[in-house]
């Protein structure tokens, strides 16, 4: 019990060491690299499971919170010291298990997926680095450590998205992801600074002195800043900005779909299961702060920060779902769906508290990883084809992928009873319904649920039903020779076992996980709060109207989807989308992602250009222009004086003229590029200062 709690730092350390060692390996030692990275991840999973079991034992013997902390001095600066720490609590433990389990499966999947890539060694180094940073975020007991891991994660994500850096689109996408998340990170950083300023510590828990504990929270909640906000709210909002950036919420969602340029396992690992969940996790971690520093009952959600969380979440859920409807790229659809589901998580956090949001996070991680890996398998089978218009009929060609994908799809759509997505989404909708401040999040959530069912049905119909439409266009894959595929099915094949086994495992967990959080047996919530759960079908009875609503909505969504796409399957790859022929303008608008990128191009980027132009211009003006201007002005004065002179008096002003001109030249003489003149200026300044001080000293 205590052994794992005090050695919790081993979990992120192992993949980090693996990454370090792999980084030093030569390129050809890919087998060793794969073994090291996967092995370290496996060990991390074992340790995570041990940690998880330890927290389970914690509340069996009646402890309120099975939280273990280990803090240490990082370095000392003057009299103060900067402290870091590690932490194991149910929230972290469940994340640890999820991250290491999904991570391990994705590592294994990558072995097959990247089998032909010459740079496998580098890839596994980055993967391990990423996993280490993510696990570090989970076990960090200090906002500073969390931030550091958070940034390492950002770097690793950048490296992985741009892994195929020879593709310009990948390089651009990596840069975009990095820069956009950086905007969020500024918020997080500012929040962190503010937190340190206000409480003097960045440790979350420190025996009553941590910044998430009662003393600090009361102090923060009691400190009013302007606008009627408390310091707690301010910090919470800033941290929320960081979470928004990392989790791809509106308005910083633009990077996530582009990030699909990376290899598919990366999309599964980073942009479905783990990294984007870090934002949600951050909000969950600082939840006491989010509630405004006072213990409001969960569900009331009166604090400004929580309202912002819920608002952002609900908006994102619907917005991204709309965009997902019109995408053609199998991974982009999933990407927008991820954004949308993350919105649900925020909605759940904002309206229902930690357990609701986290439950959806966990279930979503599994089925979205499943979907992404399924998509990867499809892409791999179709020779790096990503456009769903060029697929079709894969049901017969890739049966395992089809079956597991269907499980993932139904979980995501929220098909009742057997699929985890149903239970977690239902809880969110339930919480949103009973949320006091507003009914809007609920309405948006229901609309989002409908859209989710709709677009997932569309995707299924396009990819797995009908006839195979590929094999006509030349492919833009990497390293797959053209000759390997022929025949009617274009050489589409089921993926090897190393790729399908993770799929099956993930599908299994998707089916099982839902039962951990049904209203009848809310084990998950109880686990996070440190109670023990009781089986009670009465609660199920109380929840059934909401379940009915969501069942109806999902049925409606799937029905509509099937009616539009499934009835008649698409004839050819170039045929227009049925929706496109019905509502061309709306569809194109959605296809173009509602022009958000263009909006940013036109506003933020343009503004940035303008600002930099203005800066450049100011620079010229101040450094060069001003001097010239002064000179010119004096010359102008001189010229007019001379004209006057010549016109009127014709004598007397010549001298004045010359002296003014000399003055202008004198100013530009200051800026003559001679280092020694500048040094002389420094010296003169020093002398003046010294003499002034001396003067003041004598006479002051």
């Amino acid at each position: 019990m205590h052994a794992i709690a005090t050695h919790i730092w081993l979990i992120p350390l192992l993949p980090l060491l693996a990454a370090g060692v792999v980084a030093l390996l030569p390129k050809r030692a890919s087998t060793a690299a794969i073994g090291l990275a996967t092995g370290s991840m496996g060990l991390a999973l074992v340790l995570s499971l041990a940690a998880f079991l330890a927290t389970l034992g914690g509340h069996a013997d009646g402890a309120a919170h099975a939280t273990h902390i280990g803090n240490f001095d990082w370095f000392r600066l003057g009299t103060g010291s900067v402290r870091l720490g590690f932490l194991l609590d149910p929230l972290g433990a469940v994340m640890l298990v999820m991250v290491s389990f999904v991570g391990l499966l994705i590592f294994i999947f990558s072995i097959g997926y990247m089998a032909h890539d010459p740079n496998r060694t580098r890839f596994f180094c980055f993967l391990a680095l990423f996993a280490s940073a993510m696990l570090g975020v989970v076990v960090a007991n200090s906002l500073l450590l969390l931030f550091a891991c958070w940034e390492v994660m950002g770097v690793a994500s950048y490296l992985l998205i741009g892994f195929w850096y020879h593709k310009p689109s990948a390089a651009v996408a990596a840069k975009k992801a990095f820069l956009v998340t950086r905007i969020g990170d500024i918020g997080l950083f500012l929040g962190m600074l503010w937190m340190y300023h206000a409480t003097g510590t960045l440790l979350f828990f420190d025996d009553g002195r941590g910044c998430l504990e009662a003393d600090a929270l009361t102090q923060l909640g009691g400190t009013a800043v302007r606008g009627g906000l408390t310091a707690a709210t301010g910090i919470a909002l800033l941290l929320l900005v960081g979470a928004i950036g990392k989790s791809g919420q509106v308005p910083l969602h633009v990077w996530l779909p582009d990030a699909m340029e990376g290899p598919t396992p990366v999309s599964a690992l980073i942009h479905a299961a783990t990294m984007v969940a870090a934002g949600v996790f951050l909000v969950a971690r600082v939840f006491p702060l989010m509630t405004g520093g006072v213990d409001t009952p969960v569900g009331e959600g009166t604090s400004v920060a929580l309202q912002a969380v819920a608002g952002v979440g609900a908006l994102t859920a619907v917005f991204a779902a709309c965009l997902a409807v019109a995408q053609q790229d199998i991974k982009r659809i999933l990407a927008y769906s991820t954004v949308s589901q993350l919105g649900y998580m925020f909605l759940g956090l904002g309206t229902g508290g930690v357990a609701v949001g986290m439950f959806h996070l966990i279930t979503h991680a599994f089925f979205k990883a499943l979907l992404f890996l399924g998509a990867g398998s499809v892409i791999h089978g179709c020779h790096e084809q990503q456009d769903i218009r060029w697929m079709g009929g894969l049901r017969r060609l890739m049966p395992v992928t089809y079956a597991t994908y269907a499980v993932g799809m139904m979980a995501l759509a929220g098909v009742p009873l057997f699929f985890s997505g149903f239970w977690s989404k239902d809880e969110i909708l339930h919480a949103a319904w009973s949320w006091a401040p507003s009914r809007w999040p609920f309405v948006l959530g229901v609309v989002g649920a409908f859209l989710t069912a709709f677009y997932m049905t569309r995707q299924m119909a396009e990819v797995f039903f009908g006839q195979y439409r590929g094999g006509v266009r030349p492919h833009v894959g990497h390293g797959i020779p053209e000759a390997t595929h022929g025949g009617t099915a274009g050489g589409v094949h089921e993926s090897p076992g190393v790729m399908t086994v993770p799929l099956v495992l993930l599908a299994g967990s998707t089916l099982v996980l839902g039962w951990l959080g049904t209203p009848a047996w809310p084990w998950f919530e109880a686990y996070l709060n440190g109670h023990s759960a009781h089986l009670d079908f009465g609660r199920l009875a109380a929840a059934w109207p909401m379940m009915l609503v969501s069942v109806v909505v999902v049925a409606l969504g799937i029905g509509t989807g099937w009616w539009v796409y499934g009835r008649r399957s698409r004839v050819g790859a170039t045929a227009p989308d049925p929706l496109e022929s019905q509502f061309p303008r709306i569809f194109r608008g959605l296809q173009a992602r509602l022009y958000v990128d263009e909006l940013y191009d036109a506003t933020v980027v343009r503004l940035h250009h303008v600002v930099s132009m203005v800066c450049g211009w100011m620079d010229e003006l101040v450094l060069g222009g001003l001097v010239t201007l002064v000179g010119l002005g004096s010359r102008l004065a001189a010229f007019s004086a001379r004209s006057l002179d010549e016109l009127l008096v014709n004598l007397g002003f010549d001298a004045g003229c010359a002296s003014t001109r000399w003055g202008g030249r004198g100013f530009s003489w200051l800026q003559n590029g001679s280092a020694q003149r500048y040094l002389g200026g420094l010296g003169l300044g020093l002398a003046t200062l010294a003499i002034l001080v001396l003067w003041g000293w004598r006479h002051g």
Binding site: N672, G673, S674, A675, Q676, L679
Partner: protein, 103 residues
Amino acid sequence: MNPAQPYLFLAAALFIIGMAGALARRNAILALVGIELMLNAANLSFVAFWRHGPHPDPQTGLMFALFSIAIAGAEAAVGLALIIALFRHRRSVSLEAAESLKG
């Protein structure tokens, strides 16, 4: 006269000589020499204050001078590398050769 004052006067003299030279010489290397002299003057006053200052701190002044020496080493290395780069472009180490960078 207190015991530190001669050393401080010496440091001032060194500083002034260095400054005059750094301002007057055309040769960039010698301007750098002048700046080194000024740095050394600062070091000397650190040590003088450490030895004779009123505040009985056993190490801080020395440490300051020690770090200053280290930084001055780095400064000389980078400065001289710059001069070599300048020489490669202009075939001259005269500071006037570097005056094209003006506003």
